[in-house]
């Protein structure tokens, strides 16, 4: 069977909502916005996502209501297709293949069945240039059509959709026309729906209203100036009576057309405005914000709904974390806040204000940022570090400790330690003891010290609760500590001082031992868990992954890999390493005690993965496939940066055919299984069997017969009995035996204590087979030799019996 499992990378959410301007439907009930590879349909009143229009295989770059039918919507994507959807039911109506990546697209009511797309110019060497192309959409009833009638309109346009707008039958474009100095560069453009008037926003915060522009040189303009920074979006209301503008000030401004001295403001929208749209009846305004938020505003006075996505600021300074209580993903979001994000529902739960200071909306200001955060194992305590680094002044640092309040169900500030260190804090870790009273926090800093903080009883007054105090300051030869880690039982603390790993006892603060593996500074450090707790793993800057045995205090093994991120699964002994190699990231999952990785996948995604987290599953998954067992207890989430403007978070989780069957609650007939498998095989897009360590077995040779069975028309098929034997044969292959034997041979060569581990493993896997359907029993990675032999014997027996039955 499919031994290597079906582990796929699934894009699970957190994609940008503010990538392109959203669209409000004619009845103002729905809001459509491009989100990653899908189009999301939100309700404007309840903020809930109603549908996700999935089908594109590339980034969706534009959403537009069809001018001729307001119940249908076009979407364009980088995969080179334009799709037409019925958004009320979420049905794909038509796919139009254009064949070039589409960066933005436009339609006008004047041009029936013609859309205008921006694609990259072919045969351009270096600097990417873009051109505007008119595409005539073919009229046919087919689901899949190919548009062939393309005509170039303009070349050298800006791929940013704000740079193109439709006027009354005239199409206007302003690409970055850098007139005299950089200050009056165009940033966006909008056309008046009735008059011949174009509004342009500029880098210096001015809005210019251009009139009379069609005469050759007689154009004239007037200037409106309120914004202090670049105007990022402009929009006329449908009747043309008002002009809306927004920018980094996060204030929505409504200018009266032709009475520009009168204007209305809607301030405090939270973050810089990136797009503004108005519903076709003019009753709802909708602003997209740079913190991945869409605000729906009723008639420029009241914010009626907020649709909030995962906030990704300039950089994710804190790592990805799981809140042990809510199982929510925690990372820094809005400036000065920690966000709690539910992965299951792809929704922001809440923001925790860490800095508790007013954020000033101005670019270039240095403001407090949350740079580090850590939870203890029970989720009772949260430690955060905020810093502000001004060029002239010295670093301002605050370490804050938050206690979880059961009554309010939120974190309450317990202790603020200002200037806990003299320099930036490089790592922070709670001691994770078995009893829930964790009272030790270790922080390491670039000033060459690491400090241990402990919850101490109040000294003098009664009304104050316990607060955190510094317990110990440690240093090692003046070296800079880069990372720290507690062992699973909390009895050991490992601090990496550049090339040297020091192991301390937190109980006595005694330096137990030093481990050293020159060259290269240690950049990531973690202890093994459960059965592997005697191992300490570290990655070094010189692309080495090292594993020390703490019992012998010696290097157990090391391998040369460019590990960007080393993770430990809190619920098992598994570890995951993300390696960056030649433009893409590889994932390896391994146990420190075993030389072979449990799972490896080349090119999980392109680009670097710097943030990842193991999230415990709500219920343990029953899976028996060897390579996917590591995902039974937890899921692995990682954050990628696919494109500059599109950071999408993806999850990597098990996707077995069995799971699919059960989920779909369809009667589990063998034929269904077959069909499901067949589909799986088709979905197998890239199957890299040339991984570093693990040799993969080839696909089972069943596909030919199944294909024959499925693709031949029913009336020419031979009799069912003939097919049945073929079908059953296809289910039972002998190729797997050879592989299994090989695996066992390898296992035998391993040491004794590893056999103990595999016994444990076997225990867990043995409880499963009852649920497994008869057809997929060829898994069990850790079966003992004897069992395997027996199984093979049974299988052979089965086969002959079944064949005999069929032949008769």
């Amino acid at each position: 069977m499919v031994e290597h499992g079906d582990i796929r990378v699934v894009h699970c959410g957190g994609s940008k909502l503010n990538f392109r301007d959203p669209v409000i439907t004619h009845d103002s009930r729905f809001l459509l916005c491009a989100s990653g590879e899908a189009v999301k349909v939100f309700s404007t009143s309840t903020e809930e996502c109603i549908h996700e229009l999935r089908g594109h295989t590339g980034l969706v770059t534009g959403v537009l209501l069809r001018p001729s039918n307001h119940l249908q919507v076009y979407s364009s994507s980088l995969d080179g297709t334009v799709r037409l959807w019925d958004f009320t039911d979420g049905i794909l109506i038509k796919t139009c293949v254009i064949g070039y990546p589409i960066y933005s697209f436009y339609a006008s009511a004047k041009h029936e069945n013609v859309i205008f797309i921006v694609t990259s110019m072919p045969s351009e060497k270096r600097a990417e240039r873009f051109q505007l192309v008119a595409v005539h959409l073919p009229q046919s009833g087919d689901q899949l059509v190919e548009a062939r009638e393309l005509s170039a309109v303009l070349s050298g346009v800006n791929p940013n959709p704000a740079a193109i707008a439709f006027g009354r039958g005239v199409r206007i474009r302003r690409h970055k026309d850098n007139k005299k100095g950089g200050w009056n560069t165009f940033t966006c453009v909008a056309c008046h729906p009735k008059d011949d008037c174009i509004a342009t926003g500029h880098e210096d915060g001015k809005i210019r209203l251009w009139r009379n522009f069609n005469h050759k040189k007689e154009y004239t303009y007037s200037t409106l100036h309120w914004h202090h920074s670049a105007v990022s979006s402009l929009c006329f209301t449908p009747e043309g009576t008002n002009l809306l503008s927004g920018g980094v000030e996060s204030v929505l401004i409504q200018w009266r057309y032709k009475q520009e001295s009168e204007r209305d403001f809607l301030p405090r929208l939270g973050a810089a405005i990136t797009h503004i749209t108005v519903s076709p009846d003019g009753s709802l305004f909708c602003t997209s914000h740079s913190d991945n938020k869409i605000t729906i505003i009723q008639s420029c006075v009241k914010v009626s709904a907020v649709i909030q996505g995962l906030v990704k600021g300039d950089s994710i300074r804190t790592d990805l974390m799981m809140d042990p209580r809510s199982k929510a993903l925690v990372l820094n979001g809005k400036p000065g806040h920690l966000q709690f994000y539910s992965l299951q529902r792809d929704k922001l739960l809440y923001n925790l204000d860490i800095v508790q200071q007013e954020y000033i909306h101005e670019s270039g200001l240095q403001q407090f940022e949350v740079v580090k955060a850590a939870f203890d194992a029970s989720g009772l305590w949260l430690a955060t570090v905020e810093e502000r680094h001004q060029k002239a002044a010295e670093l301002e640092l605050n370490l804050k400790l938050w206690a979880f309040d059961e009554q309010t169900q939120s974190f309450v500030l317990n202790t603020t330690i200002s200037a806990p260190h003299d320099a930036q804090i490089t790592a922070m870790s709670f001691r994770q003891t078995a009893d829930s009273q964790t009272t030790l926090l270790v922080s390491t800093s670039k000033d060459g010290h690491f400090k241990a903080w402990q919850l101490a009883a109040p000294a003098h007054t009664e009304d104050e609760g316990p607060s955190w105090l510094c317990d110990f300051v440690g240093a090692y030869h003046g070296l800079v500590p880069e990372c720290c880690s507690f062992s699973a039982d909390g009895s050991l603390l490992a601090v990496a001082f550049q090339e040297v790993v020091t192991v301390w006892s937190p109980a006595t603060w005694e330096l137990l031992t030093t481990l050293s593996q020159p060259p290269g500074a240690v950049s990531d450090l973690c202890f093994g868990r459960l059965s592997c707790s005697k191992y300490l793993l570290g990655t070094t800057a010189s692309n080495l992954l090292c594993c020390w045995n703490l019992l012998t205090c010696s290097l157990e093994w090391s391998t040369s890999m460019d590990v960007r991120r080393l993770l430990v699964d809190p619920l098992s002994e598994n570890m995951a390493a993300f390696c960056y190699q030649s433009g893409s990231t590889d994932l390896f999952v391994f146990k420190p005690s075993e030389p072979r990785p449990l799972f490896s996948r080349k090119a999980v995604c392109s680009g670097k993965v710097t943030q990842a987290v193991f999230a415990p599953r709500e219920e343990m998954l029953e899976s028996c496939e060897e390579s996917s067992q590591w995902l039974n207890r937890s899921q692995l989430y990682f954050l990628t940066q696919q494109m500059v403007n599109n950071i999408s978070s993806s999850t990597c989780f098990l996707f077995s055919p069995l799971k699919l069957v059960i989920d779909d609650s369809v009667a589990m007939t063998p034929f269904y299984l077959l069909l499901g498998k067949h589909r799986q095989q088709q979905q197998e897009h890239r199957d890299s069997d040339s991984s570093l360590w693990a040799e993969r077995t080839a696909l089972p040779q069943t596909s030919a017969s199944i294909k024959e069975l499925l693709q031949t028309p029913a009336h020419v098929l031979p009799s069912t009995s003939y097919l049945c034997s073929m079908f059953v044969q296809s289910l039972l292959i002998s190729v797997s035996d050879a592989r299994e034997e090989k695996a066992h041979a390898e296992e035998e060569m391993e040491s004794e204590k590893e056999e103990e581990d595999s016994e444990e493993e076997m225990e867990s896997s043995r409880s499963k087979p009852e649920l497994v359907a008869a057809a997929t029993e060829s898994d069990a990675p850790a079966l003992t030799k004897a069992q395997a032999r027996e199984l093979r014997r049974v299988r052979k027996l089965d086969h002959s019996w079944l064949a005999g039955l069929l032949d008769s």
């Binding site: 009354r168 009735k194 008059d195 011949d196 008037c197 009139r211 009379n212 069609n214 040189k217 007689e218 154009y219 004239t220 303009y221 007037s222 200037t223 100036h225 309120w226 202090h228 032709k258 520009e260 001295s261």
Partner: protein, 675 residues
């Protein structure tokens, strides 16, 4: 280039006077600008905005309004008089008292037959413009309150008059007020303050546009007397408003006391329709103080005000992009030299409108300059002055008289007026001493040069130099005598340059006429070549002996001047020569001084001009390759004079614009961003 000891002089606290009003004559392309001290300046817009003529002011003459009628220029002021100017001799020709108290405004009808003035007593007086003079015709019906602004309808049948709180439309024939348009007062606290209609415009379609002290620009229908639109453009006053009447009346500009100029245009909202309307369009922000004077040329907006600068802002839709024409121009300093320098004695003469200052350059490094004053006595302002090279004589002239002083310098400076001057020296435009200080040349009216011998004993009239033809010619604005005392060069505003032989006391020759006015001329002390620099920045060298352009000049003309040189927007106002190196010509404008080395090749037309500091760092071989005739120095800013003394020390007289700005009164209100 050589090194010089530099006297850096910053004590010439010249202060230009605020611009009060201006008028543009679109036929002759001349702009007349009246300043607060009563001086009137004429700029030629055809000739690189060169300041052709300056009519000196007078104490107590405050010009409120200017008006061109054909080639004639009229002004009216708060002294209640209407003045016509003699633009050839640069003096008021006659004044007529209007007998209506202070006059606020003056306007002529489109035919140029009648002149309307608005008076303090509320009358609009009509004067008939006759051949040589103007004659009072009649009063229009009198109203209570002063008449602040006036505008004729292009058909000359109606006059719109702006008053306090209202605009009145008069029938010019009957003198009856046909309509009164009431102007709203400002909202809020200033509700009780009456609103002054500072400016009014009357279009041929009977639209009236007004700007008032409540900050509104209002558009009225003059036929029905109804308000069409109100634009609140400022919280303060709209001081001036002008229509581009010479064109299609589709643009109006308004100047505010915030220093902004706002343009309104008459355009249709959609292209294919004809229902045009007035739309506020561009805003120009080039002034720090009140914009009290505006002019609308075909291609540019000209504005001036309290901050004394004249700003020419081209309308980018009317001019070719990225050319010299499309550049913003600020004219801050007069286009003539106000500094006299006695090269032998080390004396500096600074000319102010109402006084002269004589300074002695100190011997020690840096400091120790003493100074003395001479005050004028009359109320007329000084139009020109001269200091002899030996430092012994000082002459100055007002509109009506010339004075000559003998300066004696022994420990203390004593200045004695020379009592008896020849009666020929009465009204002169330019004064110049010969290099040996024995003769004084004065350009007089009728385009003649009067030569006066000056000596210790007496002051004697010698000769009058005239052209052969003797016909009426334009006045001479430049005089220059050669070092050897043989030649005298004169230039007039008709762009002609004449050379006189002083030994023979007659015209030697005439330099071929170039179509741009010379801004300065000088005769080379060694070669006796005449160097002339013109308003379009061209440089010519003319050999006086051979009566032809020199080889150097021809080469320069065939190769052409650098675009960097041609795009400078201030004229060269002074030329001196280096006695040590006859190849060097030192000339300066406001922003730089330049040494032209005639022995070096000209730079390539589009070459980058390296500054001297970068050149110094280059290796010698490369430096020689880069060397060319133009050596430009911009260390000293806003130069009034650069002159080389006898002892080869350079005198640099600076007047930084920032110093002028800091001496201006505080602005009424400056628009600040986010207020």
């Amino acid at each position: 280039m050589g090194e010089f000891k530099v006297h850096r002089v910053r004590f010439f606290d010249y202060m230009p006077s605020a611009i009060r009003t201006m008028a543009f004559n679109s036929q002759t392309e001349r702009l007349a600008v009246a300043r607060a001290d009563g001086a009137v300046e004429i700029f030629n817009f055809n000739d690189n905005f060169f300041q052709e003529k300056v009519i000196p002011g007078q104490d107590g003459r405050a010009i409120e309004a200017l008006c061109w009628v054909g080639h004639r220029l009229f002004s009216a002021g708060l002294n209640g008089e209407i003045t016509e100017y003699d633009l050839e001799n640069l003096r008021p020709q006659y004044t007529v008292d209007a007998y209506g108290g202070p006059i606020w405004t003056i306007s002529s009808n489109s035919q140029g037959t009648q002149l309307a003035v608005g008076c303090e007593d509320g009358t609009v007086k009509i004067f008939a413009i006759l051949e040589e003079r103007i004659q009072f015709q009649r009063n229009l019906n009198r109203h209570k309150g002063r008449i602040i602004s006036l505008c004729w309808h292009p058909s000359s049948a109606q006059i719109a008059a702006g008053m306090t709180d209202m605009i009145t439309i008069y029938d010019a024939e009957t003198g009856q007020a046909t309509r009164r348009l009431l102007v709203d007062r400002a909202m809020g606290a200033s509700k009780n303050k009456e609103v002054v209609v500072w400016s009014v415009g009357y279009l041929s379609d009977h639209t009236i546009i007004s700007g008032d002290s409540a900050g509104k620009v209002q558009i009225w229908n003059g036929l029905t007397g109804t308000l069409v639109r109100t634009y609140l453009v400022t919280k303060w006053d709209v001081l001036s408003l002008i229509i581009n009447a010479s064109q299609d009346e589709s643009s109006v500009i308004a100047g505010t006391s915030e220093g902004t100029v706002i343009q309104f245009q008459f355009i249709s909202s959609t292209l294919d329709q004809h229902d045009k309307e007035w739309v506020r369009t561009r805003t120009f922000r080039n002034h720090s103080h009140d914009v009290s004077a505006l002019a609308h040329t075909d291609t540019a907006v000209v504005s001036g005000g309290m901050d004394t600068q004249l700003v020419v802002r081209p309308l980018l839709d009317k001019v070719e992009k990225n050319t010299q024409e499309s550049a913003l121009r600020k004219i801050a300093f007069p286009h003539r030299s106000l500094v006299g320098c006695a090269k032998k004695a080390g004396l500096l003469l600074f000319q102010f409108p109402d006084r002269l200052e004589l300074w002695k350059l100190g011997e020690s490094e840096g400091h120790g300059e003493q100074h003395t004053h001479t005050h004028t006595l009359g109320e007329d302002h000084i139009c020109c002055s001269a200091l002899s090279a030996c430092g012994g004589w000082l002459a100055y002239s007002t509109v009506s008289s010339v004075r000559l002083y003998r300066i004696q310098y022994n420990k203390t400076i004593s200045i004695n007026k020379v009592p008896k001057l020849p009666k020929e020296l009465r009204s002169v435009h330019q004064l110049c001493f010969s290099s040996d200080s024995s003769k004084l040349f004065a350009s007089s009216c009728q385009s003649s040069v009067i030569v006066v011998a000056v000596s210790q004993q007496e002051c004697r009239y010698l000769h009058t130099l005239k052209h052969k033809t003797g016909e009426w010619k334009a006045r001479m604005h430049l005089l220059c005598a050669s070092d050897d005392g043989k030649w005298l060069a004169t230039a007039n505003t008709d762009c002609e340059i004449h050379i006189y032989n002083l030994h023979k006391m007659k015209l030697h020759c005439m330099v071929p006429v170039y179509n741009s006015c010379p801004t300065t001329i000088a005769i080379h002390p060694v070669t006796n070549n005449l160097i002339s620099v013109h308003a379009d920045q061209q440089i010519f060298e003319f050999s006086l002996v051979q009566k032809e352009y020199t080889q150097w000049s021809r080469r320069l003309q065939t190769q052409g001047l650098l675009s960097l040189w041609l795009e400078r927007d201030t004229p060269i106002t002074h030329i001196t020569f280096n006695p040590k190196n006859p190849d060097h010509i030192i000339l300066h404008d406001t922003y730089m001084f330049c040494i032209i080395d005639q022995s070096l090749p000209f730079p390539e037309l589009n070459a980058v001009l390296w500054n001297q500091m970068t050149l110094k760092n280059l290796p010698v071989s490369q430096r020689i390759g880069q060397s060319h005739a133009f050596k430009i120095c911009k260390i000293f800013q806003h130069l009034m004079c650069v002159s080389l003394l006898e002892d080869l020390s350079l005198v640099v007289v600076e007047r930084p614009l920032l110093d002028i700005m800091s001496q201006l009164p505080a602005p009424v209100r400056q628009k600040k961003f986010a207020t």
